[in-house]
Amino acid sequence: MIASLLLLAVAQNTTWYVLPLAGAISLVYSASRYELTERILKRAARLFITITGFMLTVFVILWLLSANL
């Protein structure tokens, strides 16, 4: 358990890099879909949550599956 937590801490260094990247992708993608500022921001926020939520879910699943390894 401690070993996997340590591994998680090490992995965190590069995992965090995905957040600004997801943020930028969400904003640019939404901006290319709509013109209204409010709409762009709203859709970007939703897309950002979807991306990070999906990645978090995959992360948790993989973490649970590898818990007893």
Binding site: L27, A31, S32, Y34, T37
Partner: protein
């Protein structure tokens, strides 16, 4: 179809501007909010990637098989650069640098023009001296001379002088003469992204690989008339325009991957994504937003739609239930 409320002005010009500099096309169309989003996000990711890769993440060579010694990584580099070109003006100079790099290699390989001056060198030198009189000493000073291509042992020759001083302040002056083929001249490429500048075991106790873009390897023989007096080994400055976005050879790529590891991969991915994202921005400048202005009837989410459908499907049942309940109560 583009919404009539959006003034795209000259769409072609806007698209070109958006390609050359992310956000510029939208600023030209007076769509300032989008201009800020595109420039900050796309350039932010691009420059972050460049910084992670120590400014060596963007490079291109038209003949990657040649530069990587036939390994498949060359093709990957070219495909990656194609994605990076999406950022326009930031990445396009790499093509010019490749042309300069190729021209330089072809010129050096040519032995049909004996005596042709390849370049004149007039640069600050810093390095070490291995000399019969002065022994080992740190030296700094000015190197000046010319590099010629010709039949100097069928190779390249440097002829020049060194004026400088040793680390303890003694002024020194030498005549220099070296030929690449005899091993008495080692001169880094004039145009290259990164170069091996490791000194030889003669002047260094510990041998550790060192690569540099800003500095250029310069080892040459020190002579007195024709007598061989030793070598000077060190580096001369390589100007910014000779290493910025210039091609990298396989040895430099291997060094970068070894030094930066995963960080270099991240750098590549960031710059690729930045280039690809700008394609969306270019299209938006040319054609307007893909789904419309944004104040149309809001699209319902699929789950909302399905719940609505379920509600409408339930409605007759609910009405029947309400009628039944009313009937029962009466």
């Amino acid at each position: 179809m583009t919404d009539s409320r959006i003034d795209l002005r000259n769409p072609l010009l806007a698209a070109l501007l958006a390609f050359l500099f992310p956000g510029a096309g939208h600023a030209y169309q007076r769509r300032y909010f989008k201009a800020v989003i595109y420039s900050v996000c796309i350039l932010g990711i691009y420059f972050w990637g460049c910084s992670l890769g120590e400014a060596k993440a963007v490079h291109f060579h038209l003949d990657p098989q040649k530069i990587t010694g036939g390994r498949s990584s060359g093709r990957k580099t070219t495909a990656g650069f194609l994605a990076q070109t999406g950022v326009g003006m930031m990445a396009l100079p790499a093509i010019v640098q490749d042309l300069r790099y190729t021209e330089q290699s072809e010129k050096e390989e040519s032995d049909r023009r004996p005596g042709e001056i390849l370049e004149e060198i007039d640069a600050e030198f810093t390095g070490k001296l291995n000399h019969v009189t002065f022994g080992h000493a740190e030296i700094t000073g000015k190197i000046s001379g010319v590099v010629r291509v010709g039949d100097y042992g069928f190779g390249t020759e440097f002829e020049g002088t060194f004026n400088g001083q040793t680390s303890d302040g003694n002024p020194v002056q030498f005549d220099l003469l070296g030929s690449r083929n005899s091993g008495s001249l080692q001169l880094g490429d004039r145009v290259t992204g990164l170069d091996n500048v490791t000194m030889s075991e003669l002047v260094l106790e510990t041998q550790e690989l060192e690569f540099s873009g800003e500095r250029r390897r310069f080892f040459v023989r020190v002579i007195d008339k024709t007598a061989d007096l030793g070598m000077i080994e060190g580096t001369i400055a390589r100007p910014f325009y000779n290493h910025y976005l210039a091609p990298l050879d396989s040895e430099s790529l291997q060094y970068l991957n070894g030094k930066l590891g995963k960080q270099y991969e991240l750098a590549l991915v960031y710059t690729w994504i930045a280039g690809l994202l700008n394609i969306l921005a270019v299209w938006d400048a040319f054609q307007g937003p893909a789904y419309g202005y944004g104040d149309e009837e809001p699209e319902e989410d699929s789950d909302e739609k399905s719940s609505e459908k379920a509600e409408s499907a339930d409605a007759p049942e609910a009405a029947t239930a309400a009628t039944a309940a009313a009937g029962a109560s009466s």
